[in-house]
């Protein structure tokens, strides 16, 4: 069998970037939450806020540490597998990605240490300021990453001369047409991720009667947040879709499972797209609804995948189904937010029951939705690396052979399995270790300023099995 270095490089990049992406998505939301908790504690002096902040800072430390480790790999991926692309796009992507690195380091050097280890060593206001700056810093990091990524979808502000992109307008390149929508969509996804993790863990603690007062507060706040953000995400996603329709119509056609351009397109709930036959099997849909959503007219015209030559078509089945997974999970998240609101209206929000038992399982939902969303948007770009300007086959490393790409793909999978298996296990240990009362002294004088050191839970102490009730 012939190994295709392009396909394997795409799988490798997707694998590495997916693993990396779930950490920032989580830490951005969590950093903002910690800043909020610090602010509430600063204002009210209620120790419950501090207890929550201490606990979630530990979780933040583990997630941030894992994100940094996987980030090192990312900064070399462009060069190893996509050298022609790196060379062509370096004038724009080089500075933008470097600014991300610079921002992240600046943040880590200046504020992360204070947030993780300075609670008892600096004035309260300073600690709060550090928490806010970490939250802002994670945001700025994602700003650069999304500017780079959006540019691949809707390249602007550049001129292609002799196979190399030259920046003619920095502002136009950074704030390219799809950037605002993508950034807003990702920012909301981060808050939803953070919100569902905190809500799920709080519900889990409440079921076990652990740190009742603090976890009730946390659950209540999160559910208010989710009640607003989950529907808001649907609205922002809709705007993002309209933008994609304007700039990447073929991607929209693939998402809708639409092969031919036609008016009054149905919203397909189920279908098996067949790329070879350029049609769908077993279609089930709601007539006219896709047209209505995208054009606000039941008879609006929706583009079709077949309008572009086969060689320029994205893999429709992947785009079609990953999009449905994302939207389905989004609806499920809205349902849970509404369920929580109904319980609140009935005054039964804190009663342990089915809601509390199911909520911890929902922790997985935003992560899977985020990954599915990335698959939708990135697969939908195929075969373009830079949309309309450079294809995957033009961007790949010329000297790369299929077996080399396969070897490192398997290698990264093994390394990640060990490393992230350990990380997930450790995260579980941190949670089961439970929350500590605020008067618990912070040990580790002279502790190094390492992110992961922010969590001091033992790796294999057998006494940690379930949180102590109090």
């Amino acid at each position: 069998m012939e190994l295709d270095p392009i396909l394997l490089s795409r799988i490798q990049f997707a694998f590495v970037v997916s693993f990396h992406a779930i950490f920032p998505v989580f830490t951005i939301g969590l950093a903002a939450y910690i800043a909020l908790l610090e602010g509430l504690h600063f204002r009210t002096g209620n120790p419950a806020w501090e207890m929550l902040s201490k606990f979630w800072t530990k979780v933040f430390a583990v997630a941030f540490g894992m994100g940094v480790v996987s980030g090192i790999v990312m900064s070399f991926q462009f060069g190893t597998n996509w050298s022609n692309f790196s060379q062509a796009s370096a004038n724009f992507l080089g500075p933008v990605l470097s600014y991300e690195v610079v921002t992240a380091f600046f943040l880590e050097a200046a504020f992360l240490g204070v947030l993780l280890f300075g609670r008892d060593k600096v004035p309260k206001g300073t600690h709060l300021f550090a928490a806010i700056m970490v939250a802002v810093g994670t945001f700025i990091s994602s700003f650069w990453i999304l500017a780079a990524n959006s540019w691949l979808h809707t390249p602007a502000g550049v001129e292609l001369r002799e196979g190399v992109f030259h920046v003619t307008d920095w502002a136009a390149a950074i704030f390219n047409p799809s950037f605002p929508y993508r950034f807003a969509h990702m920012a909301l996804a981060s808050f939803l991720t953070g919100g569902f993790v905190v809500a799920g863990v709080s519900a889990w603690f409440l079921l076990r009667g652990h740190a009742i007062e603090a976890n009730r507060k946390a659950l209540s706040m999160c559910l208010w947040l989710l009640l607003v953000l989950a529907p808001a995400q649907a609205v922002v996603g809709d705007f993002h879709g309209l933008n994609t329709l304007e700039h990447q119509p073929t991607k929209i056609a693939a998402m809708e499972g639409s092969w031919e351009r036609h008016a009054g397109a149905p919203l397909l709930l189920f279908a098996i797209p067949d790329q070879a036959a350029q049609t769908n099997h077993f279609e089930i849909g709601i007539p006219g609804l896709a047209s209505y959503i995208l054009t606000h007219d039941f008879n609006g015209v929706i583009p079709g995948v077949s309008e572009v030559p086969r060689a320029e078509q994205p893999p429709v089945a992947i785009v079609f189904w990953s999009f449905r997974i994302m939207v389905g999970l989004g609806l499920l998240m809205i349902a849970f937010a509404v369920w929580g609101f109904v319980l609140r209206l009935r005054g039964r929000l804190y009663e342990p029951g089915r809601f509390h038992r199911l909520l911890p399982w929902m922790i997985a939902a935003p992560f899977i939705a985020v990954l599915a969303g990335w698959v939708t948007t990135e697969s939908g770009r195929a075969p373009w690396l830079v949309y309309g300007l450079m294809s995957f086959s033009e961007g790949v490393t010329p000297s790369l052979s299929g077996w080399m790409a396969l070897t490192t793909l398997i290698g990264y999978m093994l390394v990640y399995a060990v490393v992230y298996g350990s990380g997930a296990y450790y995260f579980y240990r941190v949670v089961t270790n439970g929350m500590e009362a605020p008067d618990h002294p912070e040990h580790g004088v002279g502790r190094p300023m390492r992110p992961l050191s922010g969590a001091d839970v033992s790796w294999d102490d057998p006494s940690i099995t379930a949180p102590a009730t109090r």
Partner: protein, 333 residues
């Protein structure tokens, strides 16, 4: 001609960044390399404590260098990384294992042993891969147009295996002299004992590379045996540092051995740069060929010139906070 020569500024920044990386991550990788040979488990705890506060700041320079290279010299980035494809993977895998082991070993009791193996193995693998990179760079790269055209294993030759082992020895020496400075008692005695054999090994590698390279590479021969006599000050400086190191270890100086070892690295590094100047992808592309657009270099320069002083200050501050001898009971548990 632009008002300021951003390409030269970037060359200096990247050269400085690589130097910082080699010196700083060098000693903490070295501690990892020496790890399995430590007298006992207690010494291992002390050794790890001595680098725990600073190692990740040290790796900052690698990421900063990688990103800066893409921004300022994309041609180097896009030829070097494919040429060293499998080596880069080994380097990254080594660094990842090591980084995680660092954190989790301190939190483990029964599984401590596995994390120790991951730490030592990851450090040695990363050091070897870096040494092989240096060797591959001396060897040069097969290029077609603006892309690497060689095979997957071109970088792996007897010469690069040799330079790989050479750098493992060199980093181990940085590690042992660091331990002389940072520890006391049994660990320090042990570090004194291993330093001189490591120095002898490093000098052996040094000598062989110095003989080997001019013999096989005409450009290097011309550079060293042409009319550039000043260049000989660099190896002379390295040998002087080696002599200083030898004397300092014999006298049981505590700080000087580390400083002298850093001196050996600096002079060797400058000698290597001098051998190839102005080529960045030997034997094909010079510094100028590889540069990105001036406006891109300038745009990035603004941010980097702002952040490098911060990183330097932060680094200095961390070392200041954790100054003095490391004791087993202090700090990291």
């Amino acid at each position: 001609m632009a008002l300021i020569d951003t390409t030269m500024i970037w060359a200096v920044i990247i050269a400085f960044g690589v130097m910082m990386y080699v010196l700083m991550d060098g000693f903490d990788l070295g501690v990892g390399i020496l790890y399995p040979f430590a007298p006992d488990e207690h010494s291992r705890d002390i050794m790890m404590n001595s680098v725990a506060p600073v190692w990740d700041g040290n790796e900052t320079w690698l990421v900063l260098g990688g990103a800066g290279l893409l921004g300022a010299f994309p041609l180097v980035y896009s030829i070097l990384l494919p040429a060293l494809y499998l080596g880069v993977f080994l380097l990254l895998a080594g660094l990842i294992f090591r980084g995680v082991a660092f954190e989790f070993r301190f939190k483990a009791r029964t599984s401590k042993h596995y994390w120790s193996i991951a730490f030592a193995g990851g450090s040695t693998l990363a050091a070897f891969a870096q040494g092989a990179v240096v060797g591959a760079y001396i060897q040069g790269f097969e290029v077609e147009g603006t892309a690497y055209a060689g095979g997957a294993f071109d970088w792996l030759t007897p010469f690069t295996i040799f330079t790989g082992i050479g750098l493992v020895i060199g980093y181990a020496l940085l590690g042992s002299t660091w331990l002389i400075m940072k520890t006391e008692g049994g660990v320090q005695d042990w570090a004194y004992r291993v330093s001189l054999p490591l120095l002898a090994g490093l000098l052996g590698v040094f000598a062989l590379v110095s003989i080997w390279t001019p013999l096989v590479d005409e450009f290097v021969r011309e550079r060293w045996f042409g009319h550039l006599y000043l260049i000989w000050l660099l190896p002379a400086g390295a040998l002087l540092c080696a002599w200083t190191l030898y004397r300092a270890v014999r006298r049981r100086d505590e700080g000087l051995p580390f400083v002298a070892t850093m001196g050996i690295f600096v002079f060797t590094y400058l000698g290597l740069l001098a051998s190839k100047w102005p080529y960045v992808i030997p034997p094909t592309f010079t510094l100028r060929d590889a540069a990105s657009a001036p406006e891109s270099q300038l745009f990035l320069l603004l941010g980097v010139l702002f952040v490098i002083p911060i990183v330097l200050a932060y680094t200095a501050w961390t070392y200041w906070v954790f100054r003095g001898k490391v004791r087993a009971d202090a700090g990291y548990h």
